[in-house]
């Protein structure tokens, strides 16, 4: 496999991904609407409507549903990391191949 060492590094990063969830606090401006309400005293109306109009993600916050409750949140994060990195790499490879050669293989 081409760039084998690089893929191994990515595998290690995926396994270490629970370390990335230790930091306390949230990214600025990425709070849920309830947290906004708590901070400023109201739910901005447009924000509320927009949030209601978009479907929720299947794996919100990289936590595989059901694993967190069983104390396996770390394993869930690793699975999410592998899944997300795999889909991203697959899509990039597929799109670049199709764009460049008109076919995937």
């Amino acid at each position: 496999m081409r760039y084998r060492k690089g893929w191994i590094v990515l595998l290690v990063l995926a396994v270490l991904s629970p370390l990335g969830a230790i930091a306390i606090g949230e990214a600025w401006g990425e709070w849920g609407i309830e947290a906004i309400e708590e901070a400023v005293g109201f739910k901005p109306r447009g924000m509320e409507k927009t949030v209601e109009s978009v479907p929720g993600a299947p794996i919100p916050d990289y936590e595989i549903p059901g694993l967190e409750e069983r104390g396996l949140g770390g394993a869930g994060l690793i699975l999410s990391a592998l899944l997300g990195a795999g889909i991203t790499a697959g899509a990039a490879f597929g799109i670049a191949r199709v764009v460049r050669y008109g076919r995937v293989s």
Binding site: L16, G25, G29, M47, V54, I59, T88, A92
Partner: protein
């Protein structure tokens, strides 16, 4: 730095989709006509790297968290146009599968993180690297500063997009409809943590990987190395 749905209006989101889509089309054209065969699996690897590095949240001054993006690193290795495609795919997977960054705001997030950051950071790298070669200290330092500049510009842009919302969209009595914070709050909130810890993290990732690869895998720098230096031989 991923803007969630609801923080910016559908109008702002639409404008930034309209800006991002032609850029993506151009990116695909360049991938079609110029990308080297060996750079296709490298592009896939780097897209996945960008996805993963964004999972590593670090505490920032002010009690918030942030993460490196890797966009400038990708641009140095495969060029800024393919980097736009790679980071876009990482952002799309984060938004669609994991709810990290909005769907309606995906265009904005692509514009900030997949376009402005890699292109600006790459430009800074190019200027500072001069004729230095992979493996040289100046080359890695230029990469680190490119990463620093790229992430800071993106952070400032996110702060700007959030902070203009109360000006653009509010009820007659002034109540904001989307992000409730004005520029005087959003700009320092985005810029200050990135000028310090956030920028340092991006600089370390970008400069560190470029220094390591420059020493042990010079052949990977065929994009930046063309025209001069060892990599072009």
């Amino acid at each position: 730095m991923h803007i969630p749905d609801g923080y910016i209006s559908p109008h702002t989101s639409g404008v930034l989709y309209l800006a991002s889509i032609p850029l993506l089309c151009l990116s695909m054209r360049i991938v079609r006509s110029r990308i080297k065969q060996s750079h296709i699996p490298l592009l896939a690897l780097l897209a996945a790297f960008s996805f993963l590095i964004m999972m590593f949240n670090i505490p920032l001054p002010g009690g918030t968290t942030g993460h490196a993006v890797g966009g400038v690193l990708v641009a140095i290795l495969v060029g800024p146009w393919p980097a736009l495609l790679a980071v876009t795919l990482a952002l799309a997977v984060q938004a669609i599968f994991f709810g990290d960054g909005g769907i309606i705001t995906l265009g904005a997030n692509i514009f900030n993180l997949a376009f402005v950051m890699p292109f600006a950071g790459y430009l800074v790298f190019r200027v500072l690297a001069g004729r230095s070669e992979p493996g040289e200290r100046r080359f890695a330092l230029a990469a680190a500063l490119g990463g620093y500049a790229g992430v800071n510009l993106a952070a400032a842009l996110v702060g700007f997009e959030l902070g203009i919302q109360p000006l653009l969209h509010h009820l007659p009595d002034g109540t904001p409809l989307y992000c409730p914070y004005s520029l005087s709050v959003t700009l320092p909130a985005m810029i200050l943590p990135h000028l310090t810890v956030g920028g340092l993290a991006e600089a370390l990732v970008t400069g560190g990987v470029v220094a390591f690869l420059g020493k042990y895998h010079t052949e990977l720098f065929s994009y930046t190395g063309t025209g001069h230096g060892k990599a072009a031989e």
